[in-house]
């Protein structure tokens, strides 16, 4: 049942590293971390990687797998195609120490900036009384294993070193929320979340929630309630709400504008109106700007996939398209991902796979204009 997998792993120190290719055996039931360990034991003794529990409990083995922030020990190999190259890179938001190991000290610094639990004076050990229902809200946040994947993915700091001093990040927003909702904590937390920990920078893109391996509802249960209550305590309610909505919609507008720009450029390449080379820089620029506000690209996989196809990077195109399929909820976006996959398969001359992909694309969105490119050919059932 084993097979030989292709891995690309980031190796090197600081900024000057590069991706190294490995071919390595994979056995049934294995996870990415097992494969990294096999590379270490047989091909690269000094490959640096952090891990402890191998069961998703300690949050040590965080990395980016095919560009997604994930725990290596909880990413099963059978979620990849056997022919697919699996790319493993260190967390992007933090400086690389070596190979897959990054310097996460930022997070420990931020932890120190949150004032500790402060119970009412005079309440003695053993006298604490709390109802289950009242502790459950905070308990959700205390499930955090400090993998820092949410910190990694958050666009406010991911590509913006300059925001780090003023922004605690989602991990510490839930810490503040946890204390705020603790039945016996006595400190005021909401205002300081806004004023000292940079809650205002968050524009509720929810990327942090999407990557959290513990399934903590970071945005819905911590950030949004705090923002709402900051509004109550700090501003005139109407104004505050307006502020939040505006911040949110502003970045959405920027992202949508830029994504739209890149998409239409790529579409005109796809339709044969322009050469890819002449617009490549503009596309890259637009994607960069969209990404700056859209975080890890959860919303951009569809774009990236098409960009890769046009640039002839078929493997990456296929990866991104699959990502897009698993992350995007709207039928139109899914359909687009299938069209892109169809183009990859078509270039690889995999006829059956192409037909299937076209079918899927049609199923999600029968009128997808991009399907026209397959219309004349013999792809109909």
């Amino acid at each position: 049942m084993g097979y030989n997998a292709k891995f690309r792993v980031w190796r090197g120190m600081n900024e000057d590293g590069e991706l190294h290719d490995f071919e390595v055996d994979v056995n049934e039931g294995e996870v990415v971390l097992d494969v990294i360990h096999r590379i270490q034991a047989t091909q690269a003794q000094d490959l640096a990687v952090r891990w402890n529990c191998k069961a998703g409990k300690c949050g040590s083995c965080s990395a980016e797998i095919n560009g997604r922030p994930r725990l290596m020990c909880m990413t099963r190999m059978n979620t990849f195609d056997e022919s697919e190259t699996v790319t493993v890179t260190p967390l992007r938001a933090f400086p690389v120490i070596r190979d897959l190991v990054t310097d996460v000290s930022f997070n420990y610094q931020k932890a120190r900036e949150v004032p500790s639990f402060t119970p009412p004076p005079g309440l003695k050990p053993g006298e604490y009384r709390m109802q289950q229902i009242d502790v459950e809200r905070s308990q959700e946040f205390r499930k955090c294993i400090e993998c820092f994947l949410c910190q990694d993915t958050c666009h406010v700091i991911r590509d913006h070193e300059e925001n780090k001093p003023v922004f605690a990040g989602p991990r510490f927003f839930i810490r503040i929320a946890e204390l705020d909702m603790h039945p016996l904590d006595t400190l005021e937390r909401k205002r300081s979340a806004q004023e000292e920990h940079g809650l205002g920078y968050c524009n509720i893109t929810k990327c942090c929630t999407e990557v959290c391996p513990e399934g903590i509802h970071i945005t819905d249960n911590a950030i949004i309630p705090m923002k709402e209550r900051v509004v109550d305590t700090k501003y005139d309610p109407a104004f505050g709400l307006f502020r939040v909505l505006r911040a949110r919609s502003k970045s959405k507008v920027v992202m949508n504008e830029q994504a739209e720009r890149a998409w239409s450029l790529l579409r005109s390449v796809e339709d044969g109106d322009v050469e890819y080379a002449t617009v490549a820089d503009q596309v890259a620029d637009a994607m960069q700007q969209a990404k700056a506000v859209a975080s890890t690209g959860t919303v951009l996989a569809r774009l990236e996939a098409l960009d890769h196809v046009e640039a002839g990077r078929l493997d990456q195109a296929a990866e991104e398209a699959r990502v897009s399929l698993s992350w995007h909820r709207s039928a139109q976006e899914r359909s687009d991902a299938w069209v892109t996959l169809a183009r990859v398969y078509d270039s690889q001359e995999r006829a059956t796979a192409t037909v299937e992909a076209v079918e899927n694309a049609r199923r999600f969105w029968p009128d997808n204009p991009r399907l026209r490119q397959f219309a004349g050919e013999d792809h109909h059932p």
Partner: protein, 631 residues
């Protein structure tokens, strides 16, 4: 030496799990400048993985519970080999330690009247384990971590420097205890990240390094568990006690191979899960040993009633101490009644509603779903024994955690021995960490007070020697790879000094260990000193080999079966051996094992047991020496 970093502290705590953090908090609270050193990042120590709970007789769920009952259960679990004083202190102080966590922000599950809820666990007579779902260790370590942060915040206010009196050195491995004559003078190690050497000058060192499971192939333990603290103590002139006792947890995952050994928490059984063989039979009813016969249910109906009416029924045998359950599973598999992948079935799906399972056992649900593709709310799990915990460890003074024979050295947590005797009860480790972590921190502070200005100093030549030893693997002759030797060591220990032991096999094992030791001397690593796991393993390997030899030698010597030591050639418990502790020491790399009489339990504690029960453990002489009537 040019690339040497040097720090001076009052107390150096090696290890940032529950024991280390609690020790450091105590030392710092008593005004000592304290360093915490750990191999992983802060907050990732093994303690984070503990699932089921922390045992303390708060009596919140059943008010009949008391420290005396907890003490009794602990002694029974350890088959009367525990150091009575440790078991006593542990049972008495555990509740205060749990309540203290609450004042630092821990949020345990609650009872309807708002107190800390407690759950059933193997070997505990009453519901006793404070818990948070099945992630109690995470709650414990995070709470201690956050307490440390709060102490640092206080120091920041007072001195403008959060690290003025308490600093964490993460990803830093200690390879040697430095001494000045008889006394501890500090510790030597390297930064994992840069490979740079670092020396800590400190008159008191607390070992809190956890266990040794990485010497076994199938284990619930992580890479950190290479027995460093055990080896450091030996090399510093300390002694280890009870090393033959290794706990194999009955329920580890058995499939797929890459997750073999990962723990399935005992709470699955505490909350109603049952063990079945391939024929669907609840086989544990056939394996209740005589010493426990009167405490466990006779049939399934009684066992099932116990969950709701524990006062009028006896508990099901699935909740026997771990050693019993592990052996029963092995017997079933050997008899051909195992599951497809060589384990047995643990069934909670047919016992509890899916919703309850997801609520009470969230991380088990997640773990099986993600790693094995099994939905535990509809299917049974396949489980089998896995190396989990070492009862043996550094021989210490119970009240202070001071290591016997090495002034200035202290030990607490899994690295210390004596508390659990021949077998540890579930939930008794987390409480052990807090009770004895605190005591070791206080012990170190007390030692310093006594020392006054007469501080020992680190000798320069000792530093040079420690450094030479550490870089030796880079200068090897290129034939041995540390990963290969490690794999062979794990096979040897697993197969020949594992759950069921035999003289011939252990003798073979000792020969193989000797061969591995000489091969290890020629280990060569590639690359440079910056974050080089091959090099780290090469250094850890030496510790694993030394400690494994202690285990094998002690196991060969103890000719009886008791708790975490089962001899096929001596299948019964022997009252004569109950009076004996086996003590390991090292001279250079020569390990010796000596017999030493067990400390004698005072009468008022003996009186907590029925005479009938003592009959099962003690021999004639001891029993006749007991006061009339009393016990």
């Amino acid at each position: 030496m040019t690339d040497l970093e040097r720090h001076s502290y009052d107390v150096v705590v090696i290890g940032a799990g529950g024991a280390g953090l609690r020790a450091a908090i105590e030392a710092r609270r008593q005004g000592k400048r304290t360093a915490i050193i750990c191999k992983s990042l802060f907050g990732k120590a093994h303690t984070v993985m503990a699932e089921g709970g922390i045992a303390a007789s708060m009596g919140n769920v059943n008010s009949k519970d008391s420290w005396q009952v907890h003490f009794r259960d602990t002694m029974r679990g350890g088959k009367f080999l525990n150091h009575w004083r440790m078991a006593e202190l542990h049972a008495k102080e555990a509740p205060q330690r749990v309540w203290e966590l609450e004042t630092w922000g821990a949020l345990f599950e609650r009872t309807p009247d708002g107190r800390i809820s407690q759950r059933n666990f193997g070997g505990h007579e009453y519901p006793r384990l404070a818990h948070v779902g099945d992630r109690t260790g995470l709650e414990l370590i995070r709470t201690l971590q956050q307490k440390i942060v709060s102490l640092q915040q206080e120091d920041e206010q007072e001195f403008g420097d959060p690290e003025a009196r308490l600093r964490v050195f993460a990803e830093c491995t200690m390879t040697e205890i430095l001494k000045d004559g008889e006394r501890v003078a500090g510790a030597f190690g390297y930064w994992r990240e840069s490979g740079r050497f670092v020396v800590f000058d400190a008159p008191a060192v607390v070992l809190a390094t956890g266990g040794i499971g990485k010497s076994f192939k199938v284990t619930s333990n992580s890479w950190e568990y290479t027995g460093d603290g055990h080896a450091l103590a030996l090399k510093a002139g300390g002694s280890l006690v009870n090393m033959e006792f290794i706990q194999f947890h009955p329920t580890g995952m058995v499939w797929p191979p890459s997750v073999k050994g990962i723990l399935v928490t005992e709470s699955v059984r505490g909350d109603g899960g049952v063990l079945k063989n391939a024929g669907g039979q609840r086989f544990m009813f056939d394996y209740v040993p005589d010493v426990f016969r009167t405490k466990y249910a006779n049939d399934e109906a009684e066992g099932d009633r116990w969950y709701t009416d524990p006062d009028n029924n006896r508990r099901p045998p699935e909740l026997l101490p771990r050693d019993e359950v592990a052996r029963a599973i092995i017997s079933e598999v050997k008899a051909g009644r195992g599951s497809p992948h060589g384990g047995v079935f643990l069934d909670v799906a047919s016992r509890l509603p899916a919703e309850t399972i997801r609520k009470k056992l969230p991380s088990m649900y997640h773990q099986f779903k993600e790693l094995a593709g099994v939905d535990i709310t509809t299917e049974a799990m396949e489980v089998g024994p896995t190396c989990h915990y070492v009862m043996g460890g550094v021989e210490v003074e119970p009240d202070t955690g001071a290591a016997v024979g090495v002034p200035g050295l202290f030990a607490a947590g899994e690295v210390a021995g004596g508390m659990h005797g021949s077998n540890r009860l579930g939930g008794n480790s987390l409480s052990d960490l807090l009770v004895f972590g605190r005591r070791a921190g206080a012990g170190a502070a007390g030692y310093l007070d006594q020392l006054g200005s007469d501080r020992p100093g680190v000798g320069g030549s000792d530093i040079d020697r420690a450094a030479d030893e550490a870089v030796a693997p880079f200068a090897g002759d290129g034939t041995e790879n540390p990963y290969t030797i490690h794999t062979e060591l794990q096979m040897t220990m697993n197969d020949m000094v594992g759950i069921i032991r035999r003289r011939e096999e252990m003798e073979d094992a000792l020969e193989q260990l000797a061969a591995l030791k000489s091969r290890a001397a020629g280990v060569t690593v590639e690359g440079h000193r910056q974050f080089n796991p091959g090099w780290h393993l090469a250094l850890d390997l030496e510790n694993m080999l030394l400690v494994s030899e202690c285990v094998a030698r002690a196991a060969l010597m103890r000719e009886e079966s008791r708790g975490g030591h089962t001899r096929e050639d001596y299948p019964l418990m022997d009252a004569g051996w109950r009076q004996v502790n086996l003590i390991c020491r090292a001279e250079g790399d020569q390990v010796s094992v000596d017999k030493q009489p067990l400390p004698i339990m005072p009468t008022e504690l003996l009186e907590l047991f029925d005479r009938d029960e003592l009959d099962k453990y003690m021999n004639e002489d001891e029993l006749t020496a007991l006061p009339e009537g009393g016990a």
